[in-house]
Symmetry: C4
Subunit: 169 residues, 4 copies
């Protein structure tokens, strides 16, 4: 029956939603980051290219995890590949941000210490969740996926940035 068949497809819906939100949040944060950047140099362009490469990759581990969750076997490696891809993507974003932070001449204005700390902490929380998700992939693939979803939800919340910066990051 089409109804039951549609329901059994939950891994495809769940992984689609998590991946879509994650890419969306990367896009929002990337937008916030480039809002603060006035000039782009060659290393930053290639760091961005690297980030983009992992963003473009996401549909593949998403499909991989969805089909293994659907098949009901060998889910652990697929979940590890999935959360690992998100982790590496997060690290690329962190690297490009770290590069910008240490090259003040690329920024539109001076970035304050507390602001930098807040941004770095926020980024580290996400990476931490992905590391835990990667570890738990070998225990339970659905729990690993749920943790990745949690990381996405975390980033939708406005950060506790110093006043006047609530709109970005």
């Amino acid at each position: 029956m089409a109804g039951r068949q549609t329901a059994r497809e939950w891994p495809h819906y769940a992984t689609f939603v998590v991946s879509f939100l994650t890419i969306g949040i990367i896009w929002v944060n990337h937008h916030g980051q480039f809002h603060r950047i006035s000039t782009v140099d060659r290393p930053l362009l290639f760091l961005n290219l690297l980030l983009l490469m992992f963003v473009v990759l996401i549909p593949f581990p998403t499909e991989l995890l969805a089909s293994y969750l659907h098949a009901g076997s060998d889910q652990h490696v697929a979940a590890a590949v999935y959360s690992g891809t998100l982790l590496v993507m997060g690290l690329c974003f962190a690297a490009s941000w770290r590069y910008v932070a240490s090259h003040g001449e690329l920024l539109t204005r001076v970035i304050s210490r507390p602001e930098l700390r807040a941004l770095t902490r926020r980024n580290a929380v996400g990476q931490g969740v992905y590391v835990v998700a990667l570890g738990l992939a070998f225990v339970s693939a659905p729990v690993c996926l749920a943790l990745c979803a949690l990381a996405a939800v975390y980033y939708t919340l406005p950060g506790r940035l110093p006043e006047g910066d609530r709109d970005i990051a």
Copy 2:
């Protein structure tokens, strides 16, 4: 024969046209909406992300409905999934518009009561058509699809907005 085979593919053409026009209209209306917005805050960005997620989803229920219409069985659930997706997408659009309307500081200029009523009414008509389409999905899948087409045609007509606003919404 290629001719007859091509003709038998009508569900793919019909669902493609309806989905394309619906996405096109969402795009035109979204354009009209953002024409009136001067600032974007975090909640609006995520409401937009939610809308975009359902827009991106549309090809899947479109393909689902096309193949079930083509196969000639189990069309009802597919039609319900299709019209349901359009309904939820419309609700996301309504939610983002409602959020903007209640946060005057995001708008380029003050929005008048009659204008707001006209826009809300117009949006409600579309949602109403989708609700009826969803209900009729279990009676006849082609009628459900025809109603979704009707909603698209309705939105192509210029709204009866107060003077000076005919260009948007």
Copy 3:
């Protein structure tokens, strides 16, 4: 052998090149058209949406023609569908241009009679080639495809527009 197999795929290469160039030329001409437009109204938006729908459709008749040329049978209907899609797309472009031409208030500057005649003639030549291609589809599918390629080449040549307009159209 991979070499011979690759060579036998010529219908996929040929149809890809013709379709790509056709879409590219539509894009260049569309760019030229919107260069002359200052305001967009609702009918023009929907005429554009209609044009875009046929542009988005092109990959499907392209694939259809490629596989029937490859299979070596029933090519005529596929060629007719292909050239017919290009014809309808051309008519959509002509319709949107006709609409703009008769709504002078949408233009950045007044359009002269000779310029309008030159543009209309140029557009008519393309439509004429597509009509002939459509007719010849039932005689020879490769000739039909070659004519569509010819139409694309014709549009790459700079038009004989009055001085000062050579850059567009």
Copy 4:
């Protein structure tokens, strides 16, 4: 086992990374090129269209090479098609740059002799690597792919351009 299966897919990962970086670098260089261009004329538009056509083609020889590397036979023709496509794409880029260089009126400012020489040399190095890769395709497909990767890495390095131009090309 999912793990081993994932590992055996290395040709898909390797070709994806090489193709992605190559397209990314074309994009960065294209960006640098258009940074120096103030006006676009019809021939340049079509040279760009030609370049874009080969960029859009890249996923197909990429997939071709990946599957033949994976299958372990007939890799040579696939590698030749792959490196040949990159070579032709590079030649299109060189052609559009040559056209711009000989039409000074399209440039934002006069281009100096040493700068032009540096850009031409840099471009020629890339083409040379692709020519060698194409020749070696018939000896070893993985070596051919490695050379294409090397060309990509070469372009990520900042060129030895005259002072003040390090940001581009």
